[in-house]
Symmetry: D2
Subunit: 400 residues, 4 copies
């Protein structure tokens, strides 16, 4: 595993716990943790349970006893590490966002396709796909329980930047993070829309905003760095991203990703209205899926508050009795399970790098649309979609 911050902790927990609750075809060995500082990496390895430490990921990629590389570093390093690992025949799990730029993402996806032909498989860490309630939502949609998808409304609301004195961090630096709310959390709701509906976003009209242009600079000692005006630094990413979208079928969707919604801590909300029903979810109540079945008689129809903790629910047979819910980190455990099973079966895990690339292309279209005053902007399809998908012109019915 490369990196050991927030995501490194979550991934370590997943590798450790997965084999204790699931019958995995392989028994994961948490062998080596990579970090630039040998001291801090060693400390993290002890805490997180890795056997060894390395300071250069290149050496790990070359090792014969490493089968899989788990990349938990900031987005600007993903492309280099992932392509090298794939080229060396390693399976790769890379945290989202897959990359900071579309070009990097395309390189990675191409590398993944080439590596897959050699048996090295890859996956992007859109962990929220593994919330049982959202996996159930996907299943219900796929089974036709809500009919054809008519509309999607998706929000990802946080509030950790609502205070203008919250300090700068690498997540607010475009060079490191690629984008702000858009790539960090907006990427999740785009991917979830792809996942649940089985469709792709094919065009967007977007607005990006940075509400607080400068923030206090926190040094590692907690004091303010620099002198004079240097006690505040610029925020170079978006604080908020809102966009309208068209899905492959032409269905309209609305998206909002923000870190300024006071009182909303990690409110991933997605509601999909279909021709025969609807599903609605909010991560602040993550063990619940709300499901409306239009076939219920009108007297007793209503959104069903499904507590997604039954043995018949995705992933749940491995855990606890009904009513004993899961938490955030379980999504990473499920991710490991799905990854290891796919690898063992020699099948492409999902979401693939192509799936990650699809999200990246949407983010790119959002940025281009926002830069041109919300002009409707088709998502680049890399030429692959042209033959089968509806054209944008025929999607939007309003001009007809």
């Amino acid at each position: 595993m490369v990196g050991y911050a927030f995501m490194g902790r979550a991934h370590s927990q997943a590798w450790r716990v997965a084999p204790r609750f699931f019958d995995l075809p392989h028994d994961p060995v948490m062998q080596v943790l990579v970090g630039r500082s040998p001291e801090r990496a060693a400390q993290a390895a002890r805490r997180l349970g890795w056997a060894e430490v390395e300071t250069d990921w290149r050496r790990v990629v070359e090792r014969d006893d490493v089968d899989l590389v788990d990349i938990c570093t900031p987005g600007d390093t993903h492309a280099e590490i992932a392509t090298a690992a794939l080229a060396a025949g390693k399976h790769v799990l890379v945290e989202k966002p897959m990359a900071n730029t579309l070009a990097e993402a395309e390189t990675m996806a191409a590398a993944a396709r080439a590596a897959a032909a050699q048996g090295a498989l890859s996956m992007v860490g859109f962990s929220y796909r593994r919330v049982p309630a959202l996996a159930l939502a996907r299943d219900l949609v796929a089974e036709g329980r809500i009919g054809e998808v008519r509309q999607v409304r998706a929000q990802y609301l946080q509030d950790w930047l609502a205070d203008p004195d919250a300090p700068l961090s690498w997540r607010l630096d475009k060079a490191r993070a690629g984008s702000g709310a858009l790539g960090d959390i907006g990427a999740h709701i785009v991917d979830l829309t792809h996942f649940i509906t089985g469709q792709r976003v094919v065009g967007v009209s977007a607005m990006l905003d940075t509400f607080v242009a400068e923030r206090p600079v926190a040094t590692s000692t907690g004091a303010l760095r620099g002198t004079g005006g240097a006690d505040r630094g610029p925020v170079t990413v978006d604080d908020s991203a809102v966009f309208l979208a068209r899905l492959s079928s032409g269905a309209p969707a609305t998206f909002e990703a923000t870190r300024f919604a006071w009182g909303r801590k990690n409110a991933i909300r997605i509601e999909v209205s279909g021709t025969a029903g609807a599903i609605a979810f909010d991560f602040e109540d993550m063990n619940v899926l709300n499901f409306f079945d239009a076939a219920d008689d009108a007297r007793t129809a209503g959104f069903r508050r499904v507590l997604v903790t039954e043995p018949d629910h995705p992933y749940m047979a491995a855990w606890w009795p009904a009513g004993h819910g899961l938490g955030y980190e379980h999504t990473f455990v499920h991710q490991v399970v799905d990854l290891v099973e796919a690898v063992a079966a020699g099948e492409q895990p999902t979401p693939s790098f192509d799936d990650g690339l699809a999200v990246q292309r949407v983010l790119d279209a959002v940025e281009r649309s926002a830069a041109s005053h919300s002009t409707f902007t088709p998502v680049d399809d890399g030429g692959a979609r042209a033959a089968t998908a509806p054209t944008v012109a025929s999607l939007s019915r309003e001009g007809a």
Copy 2:
């Protein structure tokens, strides 16, 4: 009162009930009901409690014993009746949408301004402003309890057209209704945004969709009208309207109005995130306002579920003890109270025709934006905004 359908019933109830619970400066007399069919109008008058019936609104407008004309007809008739009534020196209450076209709305607003100088006052029936929880939301925002407005998210979700076999009605005919979800329900969330934030929508990027292009034709006898293919007729309005918006301050907002959201019956949802807190509302729980105060200490901070039934809450001292909630029609009672009090005081009631025109201009911009593939479209400000409002280019980026 002109018209006696859904809105006529609601307005009649309001005129009847208001003086029983509020100390009004005038005692309303429900004198004459206007309807084209004398038999049906007479029947309605008996049921709704009006003393007389007329078949031509022009005769009513001329009567000396009529002080106020309440217009509850479809939108295509509003302009003619309202301007005539105002010209005759009557006070006017007109249901929303104020008009079907922007030109009509501008004519009406000009007539209202002229009439006001002569003492004839006018008001648009955006009744949801009178939901106590939303009036409280406005008050809290005005008092600075959530600080500066950062973002707005507004939805108006219904499902009565989700069934493709739901029949045609005048509301689906552009000639009668002006627009579909946009004008019928989207207008409400635009007006509520204006009301609660004290700002105006100054530009939009929009998508309009008609999901079901043809619907069964229901005749007045319940049988299908016509022969051959004529058992289905075209839907000429939008089923769904989604749009991004900028407010006067540059704050971004998202709007969705749809009649296709299965399981949502009349879900007017509005959440306003500010620099110091947030408010959130859903009409499906209409006696509740959710309020987040960022000044609460983090250990015990959380959205407060305020049951808006206390004597200190807007309109509530006139009603029942705490916890005994109100229903939909009470908004119309409050509307009558506010109207009668303003008329008695000789002050402009709100929302004025200018306020109604402001909404109409937003709807117009939405339609133009949708027709040009979601291009960001400034809301026409009638020349009045140019000097004071931010230009689109300078919108949003704080400090930029």
Copy 3:
């Protein structure tokens, strides 16, 4: 109508509104309001819409032009007025609690039975039976949608006495009010249990508490009455009543009525678990019934949040489109509708005085149980139940 305070206002609104929305077989005329003070009664009559005023209810009872007497006075006067009115051949609606003592209630019930034989009908004002969601709950239970009733949990929580400085009122005086939380609000949840389950409470084990023994005395001028220590007076009723109960079938139930539950304003909560499903209700969200159908497949089963605003729902066809909810006072409108329809049909309205007596007997058993340290106390059945009901000894244990 006799009395014109809180309940008088609610009843007046009901008489006024009912014929505007429902097709009543008779057209109610609001003829005469009775109050001891002629000035205040006249003022109330003007406000509430009654044609005349009387200061002695006896004169009203004797009038030939009065068909029905609506009694909204405190409980200590109910028996005398109701029996006189029934003896004079008037139909009678009496507010709950039907009486302050069991003896009075028995007298009233006997009078009602005798009068019914002469065509004078009577009803107790347990208005919450007319909440559409609770009427739906009753219907679903009666239709077998939750199977056999297994357990009931009922709470009525308010907080208007939680502040120890809230002043004394007649409701805290045993001589006037009969009891405290028990009779005022506990009576409602007992009646609702009878109504929804179709069963009776046949035995109880109870605790009554008075948390604040003395309260400030508020005089009519707002100043404190008396001298010396007399600025506070004793509370002579219960602040809280909790009791376990057996229903006719042996099913166990729990009840709590309190005015000390901070943050709960009028939380009437009732959940009935059956062998095939469950219903749950909270008046703080009064337009919703939660319904669990155990026949739903486990993957998509969950409490359905039924918005009880559909035309197929009890009383709702007369009102507004789906999603446009009702408020507290609508229950009184529905009560008038049911009463007038029963009277016109010559049928016994429900709840009858016998139904009211049944509640009174439960309250009496609660008081006796509490006075004997929560001893299980059978509800007196007036001799009628002995032959058919299970004895306490045989209650409950299925198959035993």
Copy 4:
């Protein structure tokens, strides 16, 4: 660890995970798992991560390299194992219910007191005390944020026996399980009441019910065991326990524990109303505590939906960013943390065996009360309470 079923899995996860997220003063080593069947124990040990296997707990208790014994077996074995382990100088963690009989519990508590003097500490596994939201509730009560406790309402609702064809298991056998819903889940809400209020239940009035007297017998092969009538066996424990209670201060409380509440999977609900506010919790939304502060001004007062995921909340600094909630098993992790810290500090962990005994005494009083037709039954205080606590006679105000 002795035992490896449901609780064994949860405890193993806790021992494994705790040192990865918390700075523990000792590093737990998962040394030896005890099970009667060597094969199945070995399989469990591999899955759960224990180094060795034993088939006789006595041998483990004698080992020098064992510091702590974690007892996860059914309740009928707790007393023997725990007292032996304590006598051997081991620290002991025992799952709840502490014992099946009051006599056993008293023996264990005495053994624990004696062992503590020798440095061997003990704890009962009431894991729900470690739900962060409930730990916060306790803290808020202790800090006086809701004032004096006025009333408690507690429910523990499940539905896994609502189906009469759910099979027999050891949990339905009085000899193995001691009692049914009462000891299995009712014990939790009694302990939580003790924990949150800092008071004890001192008397109860109770009803116990067994709704389904016989159930299908499932053999280990899934087929029905026996012939003739032996395909069904008797349920010898309670399905439902409801009781009224007095707390030390005299405050009344209501309790319900049932496995027959369709649609409620693990609904642990507790609401405490105080003189200055209230707290309310439902485990089906386990990351939330609802808190009402009566000091909030009436216009904006309401239950605050506190998402208990902030760094300032109990246990949460060790986990994820705000909004990223925990699940059921985390309570066991926190239990390990608190236990290891107490052991390292040489301090009595809580809940102690005396705390467990206190719960057991309440359960015993419930059974005695139910057996005597809900007679109010004082909780035996082992002679210790007499000098300091109020007598029962003075608690219940109703006879005063």
